[in-house]
């Protein structure tokens, strides 16, 4: 591990609990990862694995009854979890931005889109006049390939298609040139031809600004094409991480292997799809030891007793599985 400069973002041992009437939900346990400057990381996993809550935690947007109960999130060396609210506000939007899945839900329905983009600028740069901000906003709308930006700036969100609304969101989130862009399923609500346009646009703009990206997706193919590294989550824990090539070509955690095998584009139509038996466990009482053990074809007694650490399986490629530990799963 050659760590010449500290990573842009370092998440360590993050733990999140939801205190509900039915008990305590162990939403996230021991989640650690780093994002280097200029790097794109994909966070993948199925519904409820904790990928979205991890993203929200970075922006300190975990709402009650959820609570960050342990761990640390350092951004450019600063601990975010203890930062006061005002300092956190200047980080949000200016240094770390987030694009959500449903652009039409995230945009203000009663404000013209040009003003929404300008407002983002004004909040973060008090020296700008309104007129300057609006002019800059129109430029930004042009750079996300919105046709006729001066006229489109006068529109309201409901007048836009899903793809156009997502372009506006991207304009808003990148206008401050953030160091880190968090994109939570940015194309999941879009059709594939529009998805391809949006992914192109994001890739180009991000390369130009030099932002790092945390891309959350349930679609492994989207992450495979747009990210450098990938983190696979299951039931609130990180099970595997490494470069996209390493993880997809040599998946080392049985869950990652299972996930790849279930994809219909990987198999011959004459053979049944492999599936992962059982269901995702309830996080009210997660299994002791490895959370995947009850569904794992390779689990041994140790998996039901101890929680696996992240074991090295190659250069920067780790898997939280006793198959790769001294002593194995027995």
């Amino acid at each position: 591990m050659a760590t010449a400069s500290p990573p842009l973002l370092a998440v360590e041992d993050l733990q999140i609990r939801f205190h509900t009437l039915r008990g305590v939900v162990h939403a996230l346990d021991g989640v650690s990862f780093e994002i280097a400057r200029g790097e794109s990381i994909g966070l993948v996993g199925e519904t409820g694995c904790g990928k979205s809550i991890t993203a929200r935690a970075i922006l300190r947007l975990v709402d009650p009854p959820g609570r960050i109960t342990a761990g640390s999130i350092r951004f450019e060396g600063t601990e975010l979890l203890t930062l006061d609210r005002r300092a956190m506000r200047t980080i949000r939007g200016q240094k770390i931005s987030m694009i959500m899945q449903e652009p039409k839900v995230s945009l203000n329905p009663v404000m013209r889109i040009g003003r929404q983009v300008a407002e983002t600028l004004l909040i973060h740069d008090r020296s700008l006049s309104h007129r300057q901000a609006e002019a800059k906003a129109r430029d930004m709308l042009g750079s996300v390939s919105i046709p006729d930006p001066a006229r489109m700036a006068q529109r309201y969100p409901h007048e836009l298609s899903g793809g156009m609304a997502q372009r506006v969101m991207i304009a808003m989130m990148l206008v401050t040139r953030p160091r880190l862009l968090i994109a939570d399923e940015p194309t999941s609500a879009l059709d594939v031809t529009i998805q391809a346009q949006i992914l192109d646009l994001m890739t180009d703009l991000i390369a130009e600004i030099g932002s790092s990206v945390l891309m959350i997706s349930h679609d492994l193919a989207v992450v495979a094409e747009t990210c450098d590294r990938v983190i696979v989550m299951y039931a609130g824990t990180v099970v595997e991480s490494g470069t996209v090539d390493a993880v997809l070509d040599e998946p080392s955690h049985p869950y990652t292997r299972g996930l790849l095998n279930t994809l219909p584009d990987q198999v011959d139509p004459d053979r049944p799809l492999q599936s992962i038996p059982g269901n995702v466990p309830s996080l009210l009482a997660p299994p002791v030891g490895c959370r995947f053990a009850p569904r794992c074809p390779e689990a041994g007694p140790r998996c039901r007793r101890e929680t696996p650490a992240a074991y090295d399986v190659g250069a920067g490629h780790v898997a939280a599985c006793f198959l790769h530990a001294d002593g194995g799963v027995a």
């Binding site: 199925e46 519904t47 298609s161 793809g163 156009m164 059709d191 594939v192 031809t193 529009i194 998805q195 391809a196 346009q197 992914l199 192109d200 890739t203 349930h218 679609d219 492994l220 193919a221 989207v222 495979a224 094409e225 747009t226 996209v244 997809l248 299972g258 996930l259 790849l260 279930t262 994809l263 219909p264 584009d265 990987q266 198999v267 139509p269 049944p272 799809l273 492999q274 599936s275 992962i276 269901n279 995702v280």
Partner: protein, 336 residues
């Protein structure tokens, strides 16, 4: 077309579905949404026929029209040799054509136990007497992977995958011949999707069913179907054997759609978006090819007259006898 007629289970000819677009204080008709604009297709007994396209292309409307849930403005639907009434009255056929919806969280009645959800169709159709209903329902629930302890539970107690199994049992208990599956796994996670797709394939084999499999997910359609059609703006633009469509597509829209698909295997060849702009709206569409506004090959004739769906020509590999394409300037194999 020399195949015996009884090979066909369903034949749709020149189907039109219009929805009025109303607005203003008096809700005057301001235009017409052409949800289906002359769609023809036929399904053979026992096959899985895939229907793909992006939002708003009419694939869901087509599924709904088959079960009488969309107003038929023109054309005809022939099912098992009998022409279906155009007014949506399908009493005699309702049982034989079943529709499975995308969202299993919305399609099951929240206040009825599974026993009633599955059994009510049997009673309504007079297929079983009151004391046979539970036995028949249970047998079908067991076939789809549920059991007796689930009979008295309610929909909210089940996961998405289990709910989709309940919806299937509810349809299958009526012994349908055709099942329209509208994005049956889109609301499910991939590991659960795999179980559901496997189950659907097994059931088709065992019960001799025919599926119209509607999906926006090309990977799923490729895995599931033998033949398929690609829709765009209320039209079928290309149809054929699934492998032909994926390997040798000829319509520029099909090619763009396939090129837009991200892939794990071919991730190194990160493609640029193949299409610019959004699909146009189906409100009072202009004459000509529906794709003309976004097509890289558009010529004047494309804007004047809509090309008919005609047998694909010029494919040295044969292309399959069923390959049809609606384009004046199809992309022939070997080109770019």
């Amino acid at each position: 077309m020399t195949r015996p007629a009884d090979d066909l289970l369903l034949e749709v000819r020149d189907l039109h579905v219009d929805y009025p677009l109303r607005g203003g204080l008096l809700q005057r008709r301001r235009g017409t949404i052409k949800a289906l604009n002359g769609v023809s297709l036929s399904l053979r007994r026992g096959e899985i026929y895939g229907l793909v396209g992006e939002s708003g292309c009419g694939k869901t409307t087509l599924g709904r029209a088959l079960v009488g849930l969309a107003p038929q403005a023109g054309g005809e639907i022939t099912f098992d040799g009998v022409r279906l009434p155009a007014d949506g009255r399908r009493d005699r056929f309702a049982r034989k054509i079943q529709l499975i919806f995308q969202d299993p969280y919305a399609s099951l009645h929240p206040r009825k136990p599974v026993r009633e959800l599955v059994g009510e169709g049997l009673l309504i159709n007079g297929l079983a007497s009151a004391d046979e209903v539970d036995g028949r329902s249970l047998a079908m629930l067991e076939r789809v992977g549920l059991n007796a302890e689930h009979l008295y539970r309610y929909a909210h107690e089940f996961s998405g995958g289990q709910r989709q199994r309940i919806a299937l049992a509810r349809a299958l208990v009526l012994h349908p011949q055709l099942i329209v599956l509208d994005e049956p796994t889109s609301a499910l996670d991939v590991s659960v999707q795999a179980q559901t797709l496997n189950l659907l394939k097994e059931l088709r084999r065992e019960l001799g069913l025919t599926y119209l499999f509607i999906s926006h997910d090309l990977g799923v359609v490729r895995y599931m179907s033998q033949r398929m059609a690609v829709m765009y703006l209320g039209h079928i633009v290309e149809e054929g054997e699934t492998e032909t469509i994926f390997e040798r597509p000829q319509h520029p829209y099909t090619r763009s759609l396939l090129a837009s698909l991200p892939s794990i295997r071919h991730r190194k060849q990160r493609h640029k978006a193949a299409l610019q702009g959004d699909p146009p709206t189906p409100i009072d569409p202009p004459p000509g090819c529906p794709f003309a506004g976004r097509c890289p090959k558009t010529q004047p004739i494309c804007r004047e007259q809509n090309p008919a769906l005609a047998p694909a020509v010029g494919d040295p590999a044969g292309g399959g006898r069923d390959h049809r394409v609606a384009c004046y300037f199809p992309d022939l194999p070997g080109e770019g």
